[in-house]
Amino acid sequence: MIKLENIHRDFEVGDQIVHALDDINLEIQQGEYLSVMGPSGSGKSTLLNLIGMLDHATSGSYYLNGKNVTELDEKQEAETRNKNIGFVFQAFHLVPRLTAAQNIELPLILAGIDPSIRKEKIDKVLEELNLTDRAHHKPDQLSGGQRQRVAIARATISEPSVLLADEPTGNLDTKSGHDVMKTLESLNDHGITLIMVTHDVALGDRSKRSIKMVDGRIESDTLS
C-alpha cells in the first residue's frame, strides 16, 4: 500500500549537492509495524517526511494506496494527508493556547467535519487513551506522556491508514515512553500501519520489521 520506486531526494547545501535519499525502493503493506533506524543524517527523517508528503522527492515515484501521489497538487496533497496520514512528533507540537480536546479536534476542523460528529469522535478517543479528565487542560498543564498521548489522539482522530512517528519517546522518561509505545502498538494491533523513526535500538527491536539506513540508502531490511 506504500510503494517507493527509485526515490531520490537531493538538497543543495552551498554549492554541494547532498543526497539525503539515494535511490530508495521500499514497499510497506497495510498494518505493518516498521521501524527506521540509522545514525543522524542517514536520511531516516527525510524518508518519513516524504512518506508523509511534507517533503517531495527530487525524482522517483511514490504510490499510496495504489495512487501516484507525486502527481498531486498542493491542495489534493493536503487533503490526502488529512485523510490518510497521522503524524506523531518528538516535540509533540501541540498548539499551546488550545486545550487537549481542541488540539485533538484540529484535523477534523480542517476536514470540515460537522461539530456534533467531531464531539462524538473526540469523546471516544479521549476515553480510549484514558485522557477524559484531561480534555480541558492546556498542554502546559499536562505531563510529557499525556502530551504525547494527546498528540497520538490527534494523529489518529481522522482514522488514517498510516501513522508516522518520529522519535515519539525522545522527549519522555522511560515510564511515559513505555506507555506511549504501548499505545502506538495497540493502534497497530487494530490495523494501522505504524512507521517509526528511532535511534533507540531497544525500541527498534520491538517492531516486526526493521530497516537500517546509512547515507540515504537502505542498508538492511529485516523481519524479526
Binding site: N49, G52, L54, D55, E74, K75, E77, A78, E79, R81, N82, K83, F87, F89, A91, H93, V95, P96, R97, L98, Q102, L106, P107, I109, L110, A111, G112, R154, S158
Partner: protein
C-alpha cells in the same frame, strides 16, 4: 474544506491566546477610527455653526453695500468716505419698487455714548426701520420694535438689547424711560430677546433707533447696508439685477455698490469648511494606514512566532489557501473589532465635544463613520496579505524542525 465558522472560532482563539498583541492592535485601530470620527465631527460642527449663523441673518436675503467688492474692506470704518457716492435712504426707497421684494431694511451703524441718569457707556447704535426685526429673525423680549413710519422721519424712540438694559437700568423698569444718545434723548419702547445670534453683532449689546435719527446722530446721509428680503429663492437673480440697474441709474450710470446674496457667501464658507472636513478626515485616515502597517508588523511577528503551529496545520492537512484564509480572518476579526470600538469611542468623543462646546453641533457625518470602518477593515486585510502568504509558503519540514 474547513468551515467558515471554525475559521472564525480559530481566529478568535488566537486573538484571545495572544492578549497583549491583540490589545495593542485593537488600540491602534480604534484610535485611527475614533480620530477620523471626532475630527470630521468637529469639521461638520464648524460647518453647521456657520450655516446657522447665516440662517440667522435671514432667508432669501440680498445685501447691498457701498463700494465694489474689489475696493477696500467692509468693516465699519469704511462706511464713510471710501466710495465716491453715498448709498442713501432714497436709494433704499427706490429699491422697494419691485414686486419680488418682500421687505427692505436700510442700515446705519455707528458708535455713540449712551447714558441714563449717572450711568454711561459706549455702545453700537444701529439705525434702521421696522422691517429689520423680521429680516434678521429677531424676537422681542418686551415692548415693541421700531414703529412703521416713513423711513425719512426721525423719531426719538429706541430698542435696546438685554445686556444694555441690565447694565444701564439694573432693577429699574426700562420701558418708557428716556436714554441719552449724543445730544438727543430717546424713549425706550422695546427690549430685544437675547437668544438671537448674528454675525458681527451681539444682539445683547445694541441700541436700535430709526434710520433717519441715526443719520442725524452720526451726521451722515450714507447707509452702511441695505437688506432686501426677496419673496422667493427663484426671484433672487431678478432682484439682484433690479438692484444693480436701479443703483446704476441713480448713480450717474456707475455701479459703485456691491450686491451679494447671503447664499453666495454661505456657499463659499460651506465649500471651505467642507474641504476642511475632508482634509482633517483624510489626515486622520493616515493614522488608520499607520495602524494597518502596525498590524502587518505584528502579524509578521505572529507568523514567525507561530511557525511550528503553521507547519503542524500543514501536517494535519491544511492547504496553503486554508492557511491564508486563517490568517486573513484573524486579521479581519482584529481590525473589525478595533473599528467597532473606534466607532463607539469616536461617537462618545463627539458627544464629549458637543457637551464641551454646545454651539458646535459636532456630529460625525455618516460617510466618515462608514468609510473609516471600511478603511480599518481594508487595511487589516491588505496588510495581512503579506504575512498570510508568507505563512502559506512555509516549508512544513523546516517549520516543524525549528521547534
Amino acid at each position: 474544506m474547513i468551515r467558515t465558522n471554525d475559521v472564525i472560532a480559530f481566529g478568535w482563539q488566537a486573538l484571545k491566546g495572544y492578549r497583549s498583541r491583540t490589545v495593542l492592535m485593537l488600540l491602534a485601530m480604534c484610535i485611527g477610527v475614533a480620530a477620523v470620527l471626532m475630527l470630521t465631527a468637529l469639521g461638520e460642527g464648524a460647518r453647521n455653526y456657520v450655516r446657522s449663523e447665516f440662517a440667522s441673518l435671514g432667508t432669501n436675503l440680498v445685501i447691498v453695500f457701498p463700494g465694489r467688492s474689489e475696493t477696500t474692506g467692509q468693516g465699519m470704518g469704511t462706511m464713510m468716505g471710501v466710495t465716491p457716492r453715498d448709498l442713501t435712504l432714497d436709494d433704499a426707497i427706490a429699491l422697494t419698487r419691485n414686486p419680488n421684494v418682500q421687505r427692505i431694511a436700510p442700515l446705519n451703524v455707528g458708535v455713540a455714548e449712551v447714558s441714563w441718569q449717572n450711568r454711561k457707556r459706549e455702545i453700537t447704535v444701529l439705525g434702521s426701520n421696522s422691517e429689520l426685526l423680521k429680516i434678521r429673525h429677531w424676537t422681542m423680549a418686551r415692548g415693541d420694535f421700531l414703529p412703521e413710519t416713513d423711513w425719512d422721519r426721525a423719531s426719538a424712540v429706541c430698542v435696546i438689547g438685554t445686556k444694555i438694559r441690565n447694565e444701564i437700568f439694573g432693577a429699574h423698569n426700562a420701558l418708557g424711560q428716556y436714554i441719552r444718545l449724543g445730544e438727543n434723548r430717546y424713549r425706550v419702547i422695546g427690549i430685544l430677546a437675547s437668544e438671537g445670534r448674528s454675525i458681527g453683532m451681539d444682539v445683547e449689546e445694541l441700541v436700535i433707533i430709526p434710520v433717519s435719527s441715526a443719520q442725524s446722530l452720526f451726521n451722515t446721509p450714507s447707509l452702511f447696508r441695505i437688506f432686501i428680503e426677496v419673496k422667493s429663492r427663484a426671484a433672487i437673480p431678478n432682484v439682484i439685477k433690479f438692484a444693480e440697474d436701479t443703483i446704476r441709474a441713480r448713480h450717474q450710470g456707475e455701479l459703485d455698490v456691491t450686491v451679494i446674496t447671503q447664499d453666495a457667501v454661505l456657499a463659499t464658507f460651506d465649500n471651505i469648511l467642507g474641504a476642511l472636513t475632508y482634509a482633517v478626515g483624510g489626515i486622520a485616515a493616515i493614522s488608520l494606514a499607520v495602524a494597518g502597517i502596525l498590524i502587518m508588523n505584528v502579524m509578521l511577528v505572529a507568523v514567525s512566532q507561530r511557525t511550528s503551529e503553521i507547519g503542524l496545520l500543514k501536517a494535519l492537512g491544511a492547504s496553503g489557501r486554508e492557511i491564508v484564509f486563517l490568517i486573513l480572518v484573524e486579521a479581519l476579526l482584529l481590525s473589525s473589532l478595533g473599528g467597532l470600538i473606534g466607532l463607539i469611542i469616536g461617537h462618545l468623543g463627539s458627544w464629549g465635544i458637543r457637551a464641551a462646546l454646545p454651539d458646535l453641533e459636532a456630529y460625525p457625518p455618516g460617510w466618515a463613520a462608514i468609510s473609516s470602518f471600511l478603511i480599518a477593515i481594508a487595511t487589516g486585510a491588505i496588510f495581512s496579505l503579506l504575512p498570510a502568504s508568507k505563512a502559506s509558503k512555509l516549508d512544513p519540514v523546516m517549520a516543524l524542525a525549528r521547534h
